[in-house]
Amino acid sequence: MIGVLALQGNFDSHIKILKKINLKHKLVKTRDDLSSVDGLIIPGGESTTITNLLRKNQSLIDGINKLSKNKPILGSCAGLILMSKESNDSRVHNFAFLDVITCRNAYGRQVHSFEAKINVKNGIMSSDIDVLFIRAPKIDKINNDVEVLATFQKEVVAVRQGIHIGISCHPELLNETLIHEICFKGKT
């Protein structure tokens, strides 16, 4: 059972992917919802909005921190920013599950959003998947223990640290399941 943080954002499209790879899901809005989950997705959305809602519920923040000790967490776009150790916007909450520095809206406003193929390298496997970059962040700096999982035009767009994964774009909006499979398959 994978939890999908549903305070705000595109939790729907992540649920679609979990169904596609035959993983059960549940919406997470409170700490109680975290019981019995084997992993968590922090979706895209507005990181200021999600921060605002998280900070009204410290027990949920504590619960997510506790979960991160032994269950995989996947963050996309806003989710990546929230999982990073630091971002260029001090108003946004940082769980610091990934030792990276992120930069919000780094490609510009919506007219600069785009579709692309990114290259995913997982062990010896290398494959290209389709994604959307929607007012996407960039990963500016990667520190020790962080592994590059995917690149686009030589820039790092997905990282892994231990069991956690963060990605700056949206494979889930184009029905790509690979990142979710890498993060959760065989771990539930």
Binding site: A6, T48, C77, R104, R109, E115
Partner: protein
């Protein structure tokens, strides 16, 4: 415009789900909205209730005012153009607003045609009262549909009517002659077929027009809206910041009456609403555009 770039437009609408989009008329209000957890702000010179009161021609807002907000908030900024006024839309695109609302709240520019939205890189949101209207807008390239409701009224009755109408008409498609429906709606058959099969619109479906309280927001979410627009409801109330926070919370936790109760608890008076019977037919915003 290719199918791929349409997905990029709908992609932003997906990111706005489960949130509140707030009308703001200046930078100070935009900051209050952002701090309260708005997923986006709609920058406009006058909120709908003032447009209604002031009369005259309501046009696209001054670009300078929109730009000032864009430069100072990090969330997406939307702006309105008049129905059919593609030149206003072109200006808003050049300004790089994140979403254009082709809106019945402004004075109609073309009584026969809406903007052809396909050639634009910026996504459009359009209002609808029923399924036919929603599908015509999607067919023209809208990446997001919202109920028209009755903007500036502080009265939820029209938004409820429009949301329930769209929902029930989608269910009716199950047993309907789809080519007849396509003819009735004046849209291609494949669009009607897709909606009939998936039992939902092909783009996200938000609520707008008359939402003034956390309870209104919860009602629209329970009726199937995926996000709510709040126009006059916040900055025409006596406690904009508290109300903005409360409505954001009510949308996230719309299924929990306890949470909506807590959100509603300490609020001051909501905006004064208007009865539909007190608005002459020819002054209803929702009658503009078809």
């Amino acid at each position: 415009m290719s199918k791929e770039s349409f997905k990029v437009k709908v992609g932003l609408a997906e990111m706005l789900k489960g949130g509140v989009i707030m009308d703001v008329t200046n930078l100070e209000q935009a900051k209050i909205a952002e701090d309260a957890g708005a997923v986006s702000v709609m920058a406009l010179e006058r909120i709908p209730s003032d447009i209604r009161k002031d009369g005259g021609v309501a046009r696209m807002s001054n670009p300078h005012m929109i730009k000032e907000i864009q430069d100072n908030v990090s969330i997406p900024v939307m702006a309105k153009c008049r129905i059919g006024h593609f030149a206003e839309a072109q200006i808003l695109e050049a300004l790089e607003v994140d979403f254009i609302d082709e809106s019945e709240v402004l004075t109609t520019a073309d009584e026969h045609a809406h903007v052809d939205k396909h050639p634009f890189k910026v996504p459009f949101v359009c209002g609808a009262r029923d399924l036919g209207e929603a599908l015509r807008r999607i067919n023209e390239g809208a990446a997001l549909i919202r109920t028209k409701g009755e903007a500036g009224s502080g009265n939820i009755v029209e938004a409820v009517r429009h949301m329930k109408m769209i929902t029930s008409q989608i269910i009716e498609l199950k047993d309907a002659d789809l080519s007849k429906k396509a003819e009735e709606f004046r849209v291609p058959l494949d669009l009607v077929e897709e909606v009939a099969k998936n039992q939902k619109l092909t783009v996200p479906n938000f609520a707008a027009g008359g939402i003034a309280t956390p309870a209104d927001a919860s009602l629209m979410m329970q009726l199937g809206a995926e996000t709510v627009f709040v126009g006059s409801g916040i900055f025409k109330s006596q406690d904009p910041s508290e109300r903005a926070h409360a409505i954001v919370k009510a949308v996230t936790h719309f299924k929990s009456a306890k949470d909506v109760l807590t959100a509603s608890y300490d609020l001051k008076d909501a905006m004064k609403g208007i009865l539909m019977s007190d608005i002459p037919e020819d002054e209803k915003f929702s009658n503009r555009g078809d």
